[in-house]
Subunit: 262 residues, 2 copies
Amino acid sequence: MTKTFVFDAYGTLFDVQSIGSATEEAFPGYGHYITQIWRMKQLEYSWLTTLMGRNEDFWTITLDALEYTLKTLGLKLPPQRLETLAATFNELSDYEDAETCLTQLATHRLAILSNGTKNMLTKLVGNSALNNHLHHILSVEESKVFKPDPRAYQLIIDRLAATREEVIFVSSNGFDIAGAKSFGFTVVRVERVSSEHLTRDLVNAAAVNFGPTEIFKAMRTQEEQLQLKPDFTIPNLASLPKLFSEPSVPIEGPEALDQSGN
Amino acid sequence: MTKTFVFDAYGTLFDVQSIGSATEEAFPGYGHYITQIWRMKQLEYSWLTTLMGRNEDFWTITLDALEYTLKTLGLKLPPQRLETLAATFNELSDYEDAETCLTQLATHRLAILSNGTKNMLTKLVGNSALNNHLHHILSVEESKVFKPDPRAYQLIIDRLAATREEVIFVSSNGFDIAGAKSFGFTVVRVERVSSEHLTRDLVNAAAVNFGPTEIFKAMRTQEEQLQLKPDFTIPNLASLPKLFSEPSVPIEGPEALDQSGN
């Protein structure tokens, strides 16, 4: 049976940490500070502007967050180079397991719902190997709010003519997992950094140098304590097709799927 | 002329960093990791729950953020001790300039608007020297949203029967400064960490150990790039009364005050 899989883009299909080489090239020695503060601030600004009811687009927010980051670190770029550096968000690497995952799910309906503007997403997907594998690319731009505001997830219902029950939403981002779950989707969390590994890394780092990368991982890769648990947690995208393959014997099918009537 | 001053509590009148001794006592060697991640996550959860339209109170959020923090670091506390540690948010030190500031402004109407629950704020203020200096303590609890949602600031209008034009809102928190400005108040930013000092500290730290305290300062003490600038920036609360003292010669009065008709 055909299902509707909707993927988050930044951090789920595409590796946000791949901006690291561009930030390091622009400011040698400061790359990982810029990368982490920029990404954390970018999301923070998406939440704050939505809360204040101000309709900013994600490109403006990305530039503003970069400007904040550089200013905080006492660094400067002329406007043109600021835009060039921000444009690395349109050239992120896709995770190595993303294309295989989408290929194996090809008989299903495959979409992206992302905070990025249409323009950013067109470039991002167009620059990648995932271009031919996605049937729909939805930007929250038309909803005028960012995730996890429910109006952002409503776009999936409206544009794909899907019911909440049939959507399988896939994300690595805690706020997005909580938002999609709160909206009523079946949610798969891609846990790229397991809590065991992270804790070990953090405890080791605490003894040596607990830097911005550790803080980022601590803040943004773990399952949130928001009473909105994902239905499934998988270590990477390669595990997704298996999880939703048609069971040859019914009793082997994943329980939550059976419950939701798929 | 009597003015209405409304202060943010956590980080403005009260020093959130004063939870540091309790977190360090509970987990020696981990105090500053817990302090920073906990506070950053606490605010993150206040924004996310508001965006999702879920009505959580700040005490629950404070506990959830602490639980997240400990779990991430591989640490554990039984529920009772978790509550005891979280209760340090009700015993924060007031900044040493806070009482003098309020004393000097005593002829004006003085209030708090805080994310904290009524219960948390009653304890926090009751435990402090500021207790007798504040005329109103407003919790966003009744608005069922957190700052910077405009419905939180609306409480000032509704409960104090004040107009937007007459309110002087005082905060150190970037999201709060932006929110109050977006709502239409005259906003004073208390810049406890100047950008020059911060940049110098961060550059020095980058060469040695750029830890969670540096990330916290980089993320949460600087003026935001949100096109919502404060009307005034002062280095500490001691500078506030001077800024709003009646000018003996009209031309010496602060310009923005004259413009707003006070």
